[in-house]
Symmetry: C2
Subunit: 310 residues, 2 copies
């Protein structure tokens, strides 16, 4: 049986690139770039809650990093370094090797360096737990916050909504499962939105709820046209509304921008290869999301994801 | 039942101090100080492995932060920011309130700001899992690494060894339990050792094993005199040796320094209120720890802690 130190060396200890010191000392040693602010986020995934028992470890390695990169993207930042803490019921080398493969493949695409972590044995019959922390950088003063939306701003969303939630409701649809298991963090979009978007968030808890977070922080309301929302194809209209408005885990970017920025934003899809849809507008007043159907009638929105909801 | 967002707001969302943006956006936004390098570490604690079921949440809040601060101290860095990810089987508000109390009390003493995190529900009958990440800063070029020990250097250790391991072997000894449950990270010592120590590590896996990590990275050996090791009082000589040499979780600092630094190091205890003992010397040769008893005979050292040991 390989020891903890051997496992770390074999699968996670790669030569430091931009880090002064990566895996293998008491902590990582990093050099922040001059004139940049540091962005830090952490996410924990529990077996049985955030992923199925027996889930493909390669996809899990991808997703654990992707959800953090998505937070970095939502700040308009560039990811740089990652730390990984993982609790396993036993040292299953094959599992670890595949997890590392999925994680490093995504990390390479976003030039993100694994610089530290903690590999421990969890309770024997307990769940696998993965806790990832990602650090990124953004030029000082240009981070995209939730609190900057102003009345009259357009509301935009990238890609398509509802695919990840559909995969939970109807397992077996390959394209939907891919949205759930291997989300693509919108890092390039986040970087291009610096100085362009007035507020941004990633869609992790559901479109309506995440838009609600922007509204609360900004002290504004929102009007959204359901038929303008980019939707993953779902044949049941009732299920579609639930997945598109309240489904989580899509990891698209939801952002606001002044009407004056329309031209620049409309030019982005061709540049970065990602669709963007203008779906509504920010309104003065209470932080309420109003969604209208094609006939202009309000649609009732089911609550989004809450980890401790009864 | 309180929602995830309500819980975060109530117990973890405090106004940002040094952070530009703390809890409540997609990620924290921090301003690294000019001329400093960034130190980052993460540790995961699992119920049933790293702490007993039913452990006092206040002490757990302390310990989860303390073990990370200890890594920061072992780098000679000053802690600045923390991120907390926590998976709970249910939203037990009293537990969360006490956990937050223990964590914030220690954070306040070390001027460390909680800037982000992730609160999620873990599997219903699953373990509580706590993952903490701490970021610190150290003046460029002054971090204490494991690889700097040179033949002839003295070996030093702070405080006392063996107390935490004794608490596991013999529950009910209050002073030992305190060493296990509420370790004191040696932050002030780490800061004072900048430019003074040649290598450093914190004693988390056991004195001999952690010294071994310094030896491996530095490519040197070590000779240690057992009777010079600062020992938690244990009446059974066999148990004492095991706890002192191979017991983990003490979170003392173990460091090396040139003989020329002796005077300065001997002046530190009066200044920072922490005993320091000179316990041996770095030797040329293989990365082996040789421990001699009072009669100069080698003592056999039991292996230290390995999370995946069979």
């Amino acid at each position: 049986l390989a020891s903890e130190f051997e496992i770390i060396r074999r699968y996670f200890d790669r030569p430091a690139r931009s880090a002064l010191l990566g895996v293998g000392d008491d902590a990582a040693l990093l050099v922040p770039a001059v004139g940049m602010e540091l962005v830090a986020t952490t996410d924990l995934l529990s077996e049985g809650i955030h992923f199925r028992s027996g889930a493909d470890p390669r996809k899990l390695g991808h997703k654990a990093l992707a959800v953090n990169l998505s937070d970095i993207a939502a700040m308009g930042a560039t990811p740089r370094w990652a730390l990984l803490a993982i609790a396993l019921p036993a040292a299953d080398e094959r599992w670890i090797a595949q997890f590392a493969e999925g994680m490093f493949a995504l990390a390479a695409r976003h030039d993100t360096e694994l610089v530290g972590g903690d590999t421990t044995r969890g309770p024997a019959s307990g769940p696998i737990t993965i806790c990832m922390t990602v650090l990124g950088e953004v030029p000082a003063g240009l981070a995209l916050l939730r609190g900057g939306a102003r009345p009259g701003d357009d509301i935009w969303v990238s890609g398509e909504l509802g695919g990840a939630a559909l995969a939970l409701a109807r397992p077996g649809i390959a394209a939907a499962a891919m949205r759930l298991d291997e989300p693509e963090p919108r890092v390039a979009l986040g970087e291009r939105l610096r100085g362009l978007a007035s507020a941004a968030i990633d869609v992790s808890d559901g479109f309506a709820q995440d838009l609600g977070h922007i509204l609360e922080r900004s002290g504004v309301g929102a009007l959204v046209h359901y038929d303008r929302l980019p939707r993953f194809p779902i044949d049941d209209p009732e299920l579609e509304r639930r997945c598109v408005l309240s489904g989580g885990d899509d990891y698209e970017l939801l952002f606001t921008a002044s009407q004056g920025a329309r031209g620049e934003i409309e030019a982005l899809p061709a540049e970065i290869g990602l669709a963007l849809a203008r779906v509504g507008s920010i309104q003065p007043g209470d932080p309420k999301v109003v969604v209208l159907d094609a006939q202009g009638r309000p649609i009732r929105v089911a609550p989004g994801f809450d980890h401790f909801a009864p």
